[in-house]
Symmetry: C2
Subunit: 200 residues, 2 copies
Amino acid sequence: MGADRRTDILRAAARVIARRGVRGLRVSEVAAEAGISTALVYYHFKDRAGILHRTLEFISDRAERYTGGHPGQGSREDNPRQALERSLLLEFQDRPEVRENSTAWGELQATAVFDPELREALAGARLIWLRRLTDALGRIHPASPASARTLGAERLTATLEGLSTRWLSGLLRLEHARELMREAIAVEVAQLERRTAVAL
Amino acid sequence: MGADRRTDILRAAARVIARRGVRGLRVSEVAAEAGISTALVYYHFKDRAGILHRTLEFISDRAERYTGGHPGQGSREDNPRQALERSLLLEFQDRPEVRENSTAWGELQATAVFDPELREALAGARLIWLRRLTDALGRIHPASPASARTLGAERLTATLEGLSTRWLSGLLRLEHARELMREAIAVEVAQLERRTAVAL
DNA sequence: GTCTATAAAGCGATAGAC
DNA sequence: GTCTATCGCTTTATAGAC
């Protein structure tokens, strides 16, 4: 737990965001969650905005870990198609860590609409995801045009986030969200197949 | 402008949400935007949460208007496919009214994750949209299985919102978002076509 | 590095006059 | 219906001791 203080605080902040939202985040609650005083939080971070900024990076890194890095490079027994599906469906689990990450991610995404600084940080994390998915699609249909892969990846991330929001706000049950995501992948892969055929 | 006070306030609230987000909404700023005192806002609405709640309905109604009600029933020259596309692409325009509505909608959606009351109101508006899209898909492929239509509609709304968020936070340029949405529709319609073929 | 105490400001909400 | 004035709480952020 106590790798170092900064990490403790960020972990606590992620928990608080998942529980209360970015708007509901109180520095004092982060401190309580981390078991320290408010002043110490300010010793380690410049201000509230700084905490949010760093928490975004923390969450992004953690998601990288639990989705197992690049899909298709982790477990070798999977074929590329299964790897992509597994990687995207990992975002839909009822484990606290995942729910926390998804919730916080959605919150920060929403906040970024009004916060230029946050936006920048998000753009970076988003690019990583996009490249990852584009690569995964490339492994499935290596002969497909690169542009078609990028578009597909972009739509998949958008769908992922839309479904995620719906799941987290209780508008969609977990299994339903998973089903919709699975089919979205199927649909995109089929589309890519058509595009590959045309290109050949 | 001055239809009645309540409406003035709601219009002002929508503008403020679009500018600052739900998180950034200050009752005093709503009052200033409407050109009245803070106290008068509280005379017309119970509390801050009440304003938010009613603003959601206001936005939902207004969107209904500018998307022209049920797609395929508006302009008769359109075929059902074009009508669906037009209806969904109406959410991606740089008109202030639309940008405002989309922003506020995204905000309320995000807020609903932490607000059970808002969730309920949202569920209603969401159902309307869903039915609308399901019907539109039905007009395109009348012989398709109803379940396939519902799933398609659900994915389209999720994609719409995901893309909308990305557009509004400047991660996607407007034209790019429109292109992605257009292709998402194409992809779903194609999928529905396959499902129809299987069902026959 | 860490705490207690507190300043400073923000903001929701109401009282009461007109 | 509408305003001015203000209460009272919450929350960010810092000062200063250890």
